[in-house]
């Protein structure tokens, strides 16, 4: 599915937080969004996901959702957003309840847990899981509805560096074929996951540049590609550095875009 963002802008209590910006995310494309702290990355994702009402502009979803899709746009949250009183399987089943019969629901949950290697933990509660496993539950819950577009709000930020490394490739494999918008503040992560990286300016976030990553995904982990990825990361950092320095000393306006 294609995402078309038109003259999108958002303000919190009259204070401009984002945009206006125009952007098209092509079907199956992986788009990473980076920018200095407070530039409106999560706000952009909230607007695209319909969780925030735009002050101006609109977001269009074009094309047909995949067969069996129950929710065209699904979300993966930074803090996992798991219901702590539900087991892993019940968390994954949540979006299917009231939509599918018991047998189909069980089958979809079973398949999603198998894909995310969580089958052995179906009856566990979130508090019993490591951060990486909790995020795998969040990803399984997003995938179980067969979305056409997947929005990931800093999905690996709450994890330690090693878990992040392990989960990154796994998420890419799991989400192959879906249109992806991946918000992150890790430059390495952005160039590893994206077909294009959108760099936002300091608040109100506008598109400063869009950087294509011309390396096939399969080759990005290989030594030959590392130099090119490092060059792209450096290029992004050079563009970002001043804004990041300013943002680091600015007052916070809205702590949590979705709060």
């Amino acid at each position: 599915m294609r995402l078309r963002i038109e003259a999108l802008a958002h303000a919190y209590d009259g204070l401009a937080a984002l945009g206006p910006l125009d952007l098209v995310v092509e079907p199956g494309e992986r788009l990473a969004v980076i920018g200095p702290s407070g530039c409106g990355k999560s706000t952009l994702l909230g607007l695209v996901g319909g969780l925030l009402r735009p002050s101006r502009g609109r977001v269009l979803l074009e094309g047909e959702p995949p067969p069996g899709s129950l929710v065209p746009v699904a979300y993966v949250f930074q803090d996992f957003a798991l219901l702590p009183w539900r087991t892993v399987e019940a968390n994954v089943a949540l979006p299917l309840e009231d939509r599918l019969g018991a047998a189909e629901r069980r089958e979809r949950v079973r398949a999603a847990l198998a894909r995310t290697r969580l089958s052995d933990f179906a009856r566990a509660h979130p508090r019993q899981l490591s951060g990486g496993m909790r995020q795998r539950v969040g990803i399984a819950r997003a995938l179980v509805v067969e979305p056409g577009v997947l929005l990931l709000d800093e999905p690996l930020s709450a994890l330690d560096a090693q878990t992040r490394e392990l989960l990154l490739d796994e998420v890419l494999t799991l989400t192959r074929g879906a249109t992806l918008v991946w918000v992150t503040h890790h430059l390495e992560e952005a160039v590893r996951v994206a077909d294009r990286v959108v760099l936002l300016s300091a608040r109100p976030g506008r598109i400063r540049t869009i950087l294509p990553v011309p390396i096939p995904e399969a080759e990005r982990g290989r030594p030959a590609a590392l130099a090119e990825l490092a060059r792209l990361r450096l290029e992004l950092w050079e563009l970002l550095r001043e804004d990041a320095q300013r943002a680091e000393t600015a007052l916070v306006v809205s702590g949590d875009a979705l709060a």
């Binding site: 909230g46 969780l51 979300y75 949250f77 803090d79 219901l83 949540l94 979705l258 709060a259």
Partner: protein
């Protein structure tokens, strides 16, 4: 440079429950009380020995008088508390999720919560008569406010990302209420139940002292008038046991319903 071992500076400030010490202290206190009475250091008329209080309780149980008073009190308590709790949870949920209900309800509940509800009993007697209704209403009022406040606070403490998550999957508002808000607010609701049960017990006793012939409060008051301190203390023991039983029931509910914490 002289070397020395770094002294340990941590530890403490982390109290733990020592097994059996609490029960032992309680038994020692009872033994001391019994000893003081048997040694004739206090008048048995003003402070009967624990053994005397126990005997009185057994006599009252044998004659059926104890269960008669207990049944009357439990009936008022269960009815009043249930009415107050149900309406309190409903009001708390409304305050927690609706801007209109919050704008109207929160100042109202905050203003009325500190009013000692027993002060309203004479007014409730005027409105509802001296019978059961005024006592039940007093207990219901006393229960309503703490549960409403605790429930609203329980809803406030649910991370907003959980609600946004449910919305991101297009869950209907009713489903979000049933699957996210209500279970998420349960720790607050149960905390409100615990607080309000103690308040309900106080109000029950006070209401029964003001206008009842039966019930534990009436038993305690009548015993005082007749200077039967053994019966009076038997009533107090009964109230204490009732309070402990309610606390244990809520504790068991918390362990069962909040096992995920």
């Amino acid at each position: 440079m002289r070397s020395r071992e770094i002294p340990f500076r941590g530890g403490g400030f982390a109290p733990e429950r020592i097994p059996r010490v609490g029960a032992l202290a309680f038994l020692l206190l009872l033994a001391a009380w019994e000893g003081v009475c048997r040694a004739g250091l206090v008048s048995l008329f003003t402070l009967p020995a624990p053994s005397r209080v126990l005997l009185t309780l057994l006599e009252m149980a044998t004659s059926g008088e104890l269960f008669f008073h207990l049944r009357a009190s439990l009936g008022r308590l269960v009815l009043g508390w249930s009415l107050g709790a149900l309406s309190g949870v409903a009001a708390g949920l409304a305050i927690g999720v609706s801007s209109l209900a919050r704008s109207i309800g929160l100042p109202l509940v905050s203003a009325l919560f500190p009013v000692p509800k027993i002060a309203l009993l004479p007014l409730l007697i005027l409105w509802l008569g001296i019978g059961e209704a005024s006592k039940v209403a007093t207990i219901a009022l006393g229960t309503f406010f703490p549960i409403a406040i605790a429930t609203a606070s329980g809803v406030d403490q649910i991370p907003k990302s959980l609600v946004r998550m449910a919305q991101s999957f297009d869950l209907a508002p009713r489903a979000i209420l049933a699957k996210v808000i209500l279970p998420g607010a349960l720790p607050g609701v149960l905390a409100g139940c615990r607080i309000s049960s103690s308040i309900a017990l106080v109000l029950l006793t006070a209401a029964e002292m003001i206008g009842a012939e039966h019930g534990i409060g009436a038993l305690v008051l009548q015993a005082g008038h007749l200077m039967r301190s053994d019966r009076l203390l038997a009533g107090v023991v009964l109230l204490s046991v009732l309070g402990l039983a309610i606390g244990a029931t809520i504790g068991a509910l918390e362990r069962r319903l909040l096992a995920w914490r």
